[in-house]
């Protein structure tokens, strides 16, 4: 009732603005039509659509097919096609072949991908880098997949660095990315499905999954979600991620964004769904739980005790980076008795000449640390090292000497800052770093009681988060059968089940040997 009221109120005040837009009804109408039998009309149409000759890299080449004795033209975007191929396998055979044969397919050596008649369809294909061949008196247009887009080669993973295991990372080329996944899962049930999500830029998203594992309802849910976007362009996968999330304003991420194909493959093997997009050197894994975001592939590549050791370190780092500063504030302000007397004297001595309360001190240093961190990221690499020197020298040493902060605060901040680097997922990292500030305020306000209260509220919130219907802490709570790979990882032989929250078609990964 109240919601309805606010909704109607909102509607009243936030009306959509009206613009005087130019209508493109004529273009749309044109794209619905079929191509013409008349050669000249076709040339005219496509010249108009692609604004030739204003558009410099769209090329039309007219010639005569010798064997058929009729005129023809090809149209392509020169920057997106393999020019050599077009010349050698399409144009040369058409011009030079003298054997009388009735079919284009028999003349050209390049395989004809398909034949089509619709103008809109052809236009869409040309923008993607194919070559279209029009022949006089032929109502079909021949499409050749000649796309060759320039891009980066396959390189080492930069953001998710590991010591053991595969090093290669996704790049901006879709074909490469699919190949990287396919070479890890050699199975005919691995499906790569294409979906166009936007209208104007026609960005396509690839849905990668294993047909005999993934739950159909989940797949349908994701497809429906992808089909529901009413937007002109989504340029990058990271933007798509924000469109897909149920709570885009939430501090905590609910979709895993990784640049490692081995990680993507391992999630596909468990029945997750992976989204790829051209021009994005990463992939999205859906649904993602807290554990997926918290783990690192290294945990699995290292031997079980070592892997669990770094897991343990990561848990510790999570707690330190979240609570170190707030705990310090709570103790020095509210629960002084906890500190051993000798240490308390030393701390009081070092704080004696500092004019600020410890909350201000901590906030100043936290902010300084975040600034150094951000600056270190954005700075051009030749002057990168200077940032470290500036940060360490000025903010550390000098601030203490100037009596702006006490030395113990530096230890606390350094510890919590260092620990925050151990959380490898960048979204999770941000979430932890930002919630740290909330805890600092809570500690400043009500000591440990405030921290505990905020912590519980945060837990309630996290537990209620859902990623495509999967609870954030599944399969721990609510409990599901799984590989038991949560805080501590069992030996690989013991991980017998796929995660139950996905309800995969095939639950058992390996039988008891």
């Amino acid at each position: 009732m109240r919601k309805k009221f606010f909704k109607s109120l909102n509607k009243k005040f936030n009306t959509e603005p009206q613009f005087s837009e130019q209508s493109n009804a004529k273009d749309i109408e044109l794209k619905k039509q079929d191509i013409n039998l008349h050669y000249e009309r076709n040339i005219e149409t496509f010249k108009a659509i692609f604004s030739i000759p204003k558009n410099v890299d769209v090329k039309i080449r007219e010639f005569t097919i010798r064997s058929l004795k009729c005129r023809a033209f090809i149209i392509y975007i020169s920057t997106m096609v393999d020019m050599d191929q077009v010349q050698k396998s399409i144009v040369e055979p058409l011009i030079e072949n003298e054997q009388p044969t009735g079919k284009i397919q028999d003349i050209v050596s390049f395989p004809v991908a398909k034949m089509t008649t619709n103008i809109g369809d052809i236009t869409e294909n040309i923008t993607r880098g194919i070559t279209a061949l029009f022949v006089d008196d032929d109502d079909q247009c021949y499409i050749f997949e000649t796309t060759k887009i320039q891009g980066r080669g396959i390189e080492k993973s930069n953001n998710e660095v590991i010591v053991k295991g595969a090093k290669e990372a996704f790049n901006e080329r879709l074909a490469d990315n699919i190949a990287l996944v396919r070479k890890k899962i050699k199975n005919e049930n691995l499906i790569v499905e294409a979906h166009v999500v936007t209208k104007r830029s026609r960005n396509d998203v690839l849905i990668v999954y294993e047909k005999d594992l993934v739950k159909d309802e989940l797949l349908q849910k994701i497809k429906d979600r992808l089909a529901s976007f009413e937007t002109d362009s989504i340029l990058d996968l990271s933007i798509l991620e924000q469109y897909l999330e149920e709570r885009p304003r939430s501090l905590f991420p609910t979709i895993l964004n990784t640049e490692r194909p081995d990680r993507a493959a391992s999630f596909i093997e468990e029945g997750h769904i992976v989204l790829l997009m051209s021009n994005s050197p990463n992939c999205l894994v859906l649904p993602a739980t807290f554990w997926a975001l918290f783990h690192s592939p290294e945990d699995h590549y290292l031997r079980t005790p070592y892997g669990n050791f770094i897991r343990f370190l990561r848990v510790l780092a999570l707690f330190i980076s979240l609570f170190a500063s707030s705990f310090y504030i709570a103790i020095t302000n509210y629960h002084v008795g906890m500190i051993p007397p000798d240490l308390l004297m030393a701390m009081a001595g070092s704080r004696e000449r500092v004019p600020f309360p410890s909350v201000v001190e901590i906030l100043m240093m936290e902010l300084a640390f975040e600034l150094i961190r951000e600056a270190g990221l954005r700075v051009p690499s030749p002057i990168g090292p200077t940032i470290g020197i500036v940060g360490a020298l000025i903010l550390g040493q000098a601030a203490v000497q100037a009596n702006i902060i006490s030395p113990i605060v530096i230890i606390v901040i350094a510890l919590s800052g260092l620990s925050s680097f151990i959380i490898s997922d960048s979204s999770m990292n941000f979430a932890i770093r930002m919630s740290r500030f909330l805890f600092i305020f809570a500690a400043g306000l009500l000591g440990i009681y405030g921290v505990a209260a905020l912590g519980i509220v945060g837990l309630f919130y996290l537990v209620s988060l859902k990623s495509f219907g999967t609870s954030y802490f599944a399969p721990m709570t609510p409990h599901f059968f799984s590989g038991k790979d949560l805080l501590i990882r069992p030996v690989p032989m013991k991980a017998m089940f796929r995660p139950g929250y996905l309800k995969p078609k095939d639950m058992v990964k390996q039988r008891k040997g």
């Binding site: 149920e246 709570a330 103790i331 509210y334 629960h335 008795g337 906890m338 051993p340 007397p341 009500l446 000591g447 440990i448 009681y449 405030g450 921290v451 505990a452 209260a453 912590g455 519980i456 509220v457 837990l459 309630f460 919130y461 537990v463 209620s464 859902k466 609870s471 802490f473 721990m476 709570t477 609510p478 409990h479």
Partner: protein, 369 residues
């Protein structure tokens, strides 16, 4: 996207039950028991668990006749529309008052031991606000949080108890029968209120994945909690001996007393975190159950919207008593003295009326068919 309310698994249910009832060991219960039967106090939880076992068993048996229905439904079904309504209303009001006073008691503990200068209203309001937020998230999420934290709550408690042995004296439990066997038995039957929370937990049956899980979970939690309270009382007796009778909240006194080696003299804050976290869960669950009761009584389907207002009512009722003595010694005991026998009696009446109505026979016939 709409989020469907999920079901509560057995792990989550047991966690909630343990946190709700088990935290009695950390408030004034051991003291009250000690005042009653001196150094035999540690037997009382186990004995009264044995006594309350009968009504609880009968209650569970009666409720299991109605698959997936909660306590109030069964009461209204068996006792008729009007009497049933009155009984439910009485249960609701008693729990409302009981929990208000209980939460006030917890606030008093926070104030007395950890935040001596903070106004009580601030502490109390924050407690209630957090609980209201949690309860509004729904029972499944309360269960999940409880499950995530239960391990810390239990280890924290037993760690504190273990450390308290530094200063304890085992001889304090002698003479083993305290004031005498008859006296112990008499007082045990008066301490049924220790376990009345299990009576209220039957409100949650429709939210559990299966009623078998509910029965199993209830017994697990029941046995565990009786042992936990008993063990905790035993440790407190060993540590504080005769002075336990004069110490309001032995757990908090104990954690102030113990130290981690000679270099960290005061570690009560660590245990405070564990304790306050389980207190949050406890009242969140109570708040949810109470809202559920209210919703059932007055046929309000979206009872979750009532939670903030119920929390405010708790806050108001809990604020009425002037001092903590009023709360701890007078009102609280009055409520507790009534609650235990009353709930046991209701369980028995339900079972009897089911028996007389022949519901058990129907069930048997149904099974035979």
């Amino acid at each position: 996207m709409n989020q469907q309310p999920g079901k509560l698994g057995i792990r989550e249910y047991v966690s909630i039950a343990i946190l709700m009832v088990g935290s009695k060991a950390t408030e004034d219960t051991p003291t009250v028991l000690f005042i009653n039967v001196q150094n035999a106090a540690w037997m009382i939880p186990v004995l009264s668990a044995g006594i309350f076992f009968i009504p609880l068993l009968l209650l569970l048996k009666t409720i299991s006749l109605y698959q997936g229905k909660n306590l109030f439904f069964v009461i209204q079904k068996l006792l008729g529309k009007y009497i049933g309504f009155i009984v439910c209303l009485v249960i609701f009001i008693i729990t409302l008052v009981g929990i208000s006073l209980d939460s006030r008691l917890y606030t008093n503990i926070i104030r007395a031991f950890y935040f001596r200068t903070t106004p009580i209203l601030v502490l109390y309001a924050l407690l209630m606000a957090v609980c209201a937020y949690g309860a509004k998230k729904g029972i499944q999420h309360i269960g999940s949080v409880a499950y995530l934290l239960i391990i810390y709550a239990i280890t924290g408690l037993f760690f504190a108890l273990g450390l308290s042995t530094q200063a304890s004296n085992v001889n304090a439990i002698l003479p083993i029968w305290g004031p005498g066997k008859i006296e112990i038995l008499k007082k045990s039957s008066q301490s049924l209120s220790l376990f009345t929370d299990f009576f209220l937990l039957t409100m949650l049956i429709p939210y559990l994945s299966s009623s078998k899980d509910f029965r199993k979970g209830t017994w697990i939690a029941y046995i565990y909690v009786s042992i936990q309270i008993s063990v905790a009382t035993l440790f407190f007796i060993c540590m504080l001996d005769q002075s336990l009778g004069g110490v309001g909240y032995p757990f908090h006194t104990a954690v102030r007393y113990i130290s981690l080696g000679s270099y960290i003299p005061n570690i009560e804050i660590l245990f405070f975190i564990v304790w306050i976290v389980s207190a949050f869960i406890r009242f969140t669950a109570f708040l949810y159950i109470n809202a559920l009761m209210f919703g059932h009584l007055f046929k309000i389907k979206d009872f979750e919207f009532l939670i903030p207002s119920l929390a405010a009512i708790y806050l108001l009722i809990g604020n009425i008593p002037e001092s903590q003595i009023d709360v701890g010694l007078k009102l609280e005991h009055m409520v507790q003295a009534v609650v235990g026998p009353l709930f046991a009696a209701i369980s028995l009446i339900l079972w009897l009326s089911a028996l007389l109505k022949g519901e058990f026979k129907h069930e048997k016939d149904k099974n035979n068919m």
